[in-house]
Symmetry: C2
Subunit: 201 residues, 2 copies
């Protein structure tokens, strides 16, 4: 067996794993973790049988765990990038908000996973999402803004509640259909409310 074939096989396997993750993400966020059976995931990930999943994941929880890690890591990387490219916390927050709104429109499952699902209900051993790297970095952005005198707030936690309370609530209403237009439609409004609430004037 030459290198080419080996590589192809590995790619195949990667793809299969990826298909499982994608299908699981969709089903978990649609029906919930406990309403989704491995058979459902197998079917949705294309012609595979439930047993085959165990070649890629130790068990059902590991699928959710991998999803969680993947989402939180991607977010964390994006936030690193945003912090690197922007100096002012207002600009950083602006871009984070933009990211969240775009994700809501173009990858709603991801945002549903973060905002709607009760992650610790099926991943009891994971840290709460507020303690994940991604959200710690968001708190750092707020902290930076407070230190720089751009943001008024007792502490970054409080600033988070105020600022992201508005952002997340808006997005959650979009995701659950209470707000009926695309997230994009509400972005400017939500940004203004959220930012005006914490900016030092």
């Amino acid at each position: 067996m030459d290198k080419e074939t080996k590589k192809e096989q590995e790619q195949e396997k990667e793809k299969a794993r990826d298909d499982i993750l994608r299908a699981a993400l969709k089903l978990f966020t649609e029906k919930g973790y406990f309403n989704t059976s491995l058979a459902d995931i197998a079917e949705a990930s294309g012609a595979k049988t439930a047993a085959g999943i165990y070649k890629h994941f130790k068990n059902k929880q590991e699928i959710a765990s991998a999803l969680y890690e993947w989402i939180v890591n991607s977010l964390s990387i994006s936030i690193d990038d945003i912090r690197r490219r922007n100096r002012k916390s207002s600009d950083q927050l602006r871009e984070i908000v933009d990211l969240f709104f775009r994700l809501t429109d173009y990858a709603p499952e991801v945002m549903r996973f973060i905002l709607v699902l009760n992650i610790n209900e099926f991943l009891p051993d994971e840290k709460p999402i507020m303690e994940s790297q991604a959200f710690i970095k968001i708190l750092r952005v707020l902290h930076g803004g407070i230190k720089a005198g751009e943001i008024k707030a007792a502490d970054s936690q409080r600033a988070y509640c105020s600022f992201f309370g508005i952002i997340e609530n808006t997005l959650k209403q979009v995701l659950t259909g209470t707000l009926t237009k695309k997230a994009d439609f509400y972005q400017n409004d939500a940004w203004s409310s959220a930012w005006d609430g914490i900016v030092k004037t």
Copy 2:
């Protein structure tokens, strides 16, 4: 059998039903609906066996359904009362916020049920909570404030996202332990941020 005995029996039965509901509320909000078995509920509600629950409820879902209805109805009644006793929307909102914060400190399970649980995951046939009477009435309060010129907002939905985004996010952080003090500690701060964000100046 005289009337006294009959009455006592009925009270006994009411109490048993109540014990089941209380135990279920505690367990559902602690571990989640799907992680709670009828055996768990039976044990927590005192010396009863799982089978006995079926004398009081048709099935597990009905317990959750009864809880949901009870919570939403209680809220709805409280809000009616608040609206009756106050004219200005600012006063009405003030009291609603006060209610939410008090519930968070003194009946956290109730607030966890509302804010943390994914109700439609285990009650797929119920309307989303935003369409329940209680929350429709909250939207009316906001609508009243907009019409009276007290609140600036494009519509009550948008005002809701902004105002209750801050309130609910704060309470959620308290309920999940990210904010470590009692809800009461954050109330004035949250109220100011939330109200300042929607008041017309």
